[in-house]
């Protein structure tokens, strides 16, 4: 008698449980998909924004390289004007120190290298973004919280992973951890076999729900990181534009001066020297923040992008 009763009871529980679990699976899947869709939209906007910043940084780099050509012209002009032999002090009250500086600028102009604006930081940021392409939905059952298939593990690692799997995944991924897994394992021994599939299905549904919760939380964190990074990049973009305009305006002034200046006129030579010196300083990277060990986002010098947010974690 007890056995048929158990079978009927198990069948009833099985049917009811299956319907309940099916609805839960569907609800969790829809919840995950909706959040994922929003997240992907946000990520796409973020990616485009990073690309636009990178483009502007590249443009600034090109602009600075081009400005070097103007500086070279100015250097040639000053060499032809024999600046080193001129006595500016009489006309313009140039101190001996300033005169030495002028000669130094002439040397610097010849030595300016094209690699003053390192875009490696931004490039690295883009590289991290590139990895996002590898972000596929890791939904296969039987994978550890790091996404490694349990079958690929051996010994203690395999045991821990299996216990964690039984416990609904690692604690970090929203599961019950190894302890819950071990307790579950102990219980399973005593559960009547007829109810076992329903219990496992229910457990799986519960675990799936936890995974969805966890994935959504990961997306929340990642989205918040993208938001902060985007804000920092906006500031960086403002800075890039500021430096870019500064270089453009001073270079234009120097070009205008070179067009109308004569090497015979001391005043002309002096004006060209002033503008060339200022442009050389602008192209130089020694802004007042460059002495810091942890530069963060800066420009006018090496452009370092803040760390890109971590990749999101999909339900495993």
């Amino acid at each position: 008698m007890p056995i048929p009763f158990l079978i009927w009871a198990a069948a009833a529980i099985g049917l009811g449980g299956s319907a309940f679990n099916f609805r839960k699976f569907k609800r969790d899947r829809d919840r995950y998909n909706a959040r994922r869709k929003r997240y992907e939209r946000c990520r796409e906007r973020y990616r485009k924004f990073v690309e636009s910043v990178q483009t502007e940084v590249d443009d600034l780099h090109k602009q600075r390289v081009a400005a070097q050509e103007t500086l070279r012209e100015a250097a040639e002009f000053l060499v032809r004007a024999k600046v080193k032999d001129r006595e500016f002090d009489a006309d313009f009250k140039i101190t001996p120190e300033q005169f030495e500086e002028l000669k130094g600028v002439l040397d610097d102009l010849r030595n300016l290298s094209a690699d003053f604006l390192g875009t490696a930081g931004i490039g690295a940021g883009a590289g991290i973004l590139g990895k996002s392409a590898a972000l596929a939905l890791v939904s296969a059952l039987g994978s550890t919280s790091t996404g490694t298939a349990i079958g690929g593990l051996t010994g203690a690692a395999a045991r821990s992973a299996t216990l964690a799997w039984l416990g609904g995944g690692s604690l970090a991924s929203g599961g019950g951890g190894m302890a819950a897994g071990a307790a579950m394992l102990a219980n399973i021994t005593f559960i009547p076999l007829a109810i076992l599939p329903v219990a496992v299905f229910t457990w799986k549904a519960y675990k799936q729900g936890k995974r969805v919760d966890d994935a959504i939380e990961e997306m929340d964190v990642d989205q918040a990181k993208m938001g902060r990074h985007k804000a920092e990049l906006s500031a960086l973009l403002e800075r890039v534009r500021e430096v870019s305009k500064g270089v453009r305006e001073v270079e234009k002034a120097l070009k205008d001066l070179l067009e109308v200046s004569s090497i015979e006129v001391v005043k002309d030579v002096y004006l060209v020297w002033l503008a060339a010196k200022a442009l050389a300083e602008l192209l130089d990277d020694k802004s007042d923040s460059s002495d810091d060990e942890d530069p963060g986002p800066s420009t006018g010098g090496g452009v370092t992008s803040p760390k890109s947010p971590n990749v999101p974690i999909a339900p495993r």
Binding site: A186, D220, R239, E242, E249, L282, D292, T299
Partner: protein, 127 residues
């Protein structure tokens, strides 16, 4: 016959007690693990809040700061081009010094300072 009775008949009395005992143990463990999970979740929530505050600060501060600088720079650019047009060396020097003075002062260093302050638990922010 009740379900518990069925279990007892099927597994024996000892088995039924064992099931209950294991179930209680399991629930206790589960409760403890749930608490740990809540802690992890709370930490994540705090992280999201902190990140959002940082973002809001950066969005509120830097556009205003750069707008102010842009205005000053524009005035110096105007002086610069006037100086070139008039071949006025004094004016040119003033304009170039002004431009360099502003541009070489990188406002993004404030971001670093802000981060340092933000990570210091003793700092207070008045927003």
């Amino acid at each position: 016959m009740t379900t518990v009775g069925s279990f007892a008949a099927f597994f024996g009395k000892q088995g039924a007690f064992k099931i209950i005992e294991e179930a209680v143990d399991y629930l206790k463990t589960r409760e403890a693990e749930a608490t740990k999970r809540e802690y992890i979740r709370a930490k994540r929530d705090a992280l999201v809040t902190a990140l959002n505050h940082e973002r809001d600060f950066v969005f509120a501060y830097f556009p205003a700061r750069f707008a102010e600088r842009r205005e000053s720079l524009q005035q110096f650019y105007d002086v610069l081009h006037a100086a070139v047009e008039n071949s006025n060396s004094d004016q040119l020097q003033v304009a170039l010094e002004g431009i360099l003075g502003i541009i070489k002062d990188n406002p993004l260093k404030d971001l670093r300072e802000f981060r340092r302050e933000w990570e210091d638990p003793n700092s207070e922010f008045i927003l």
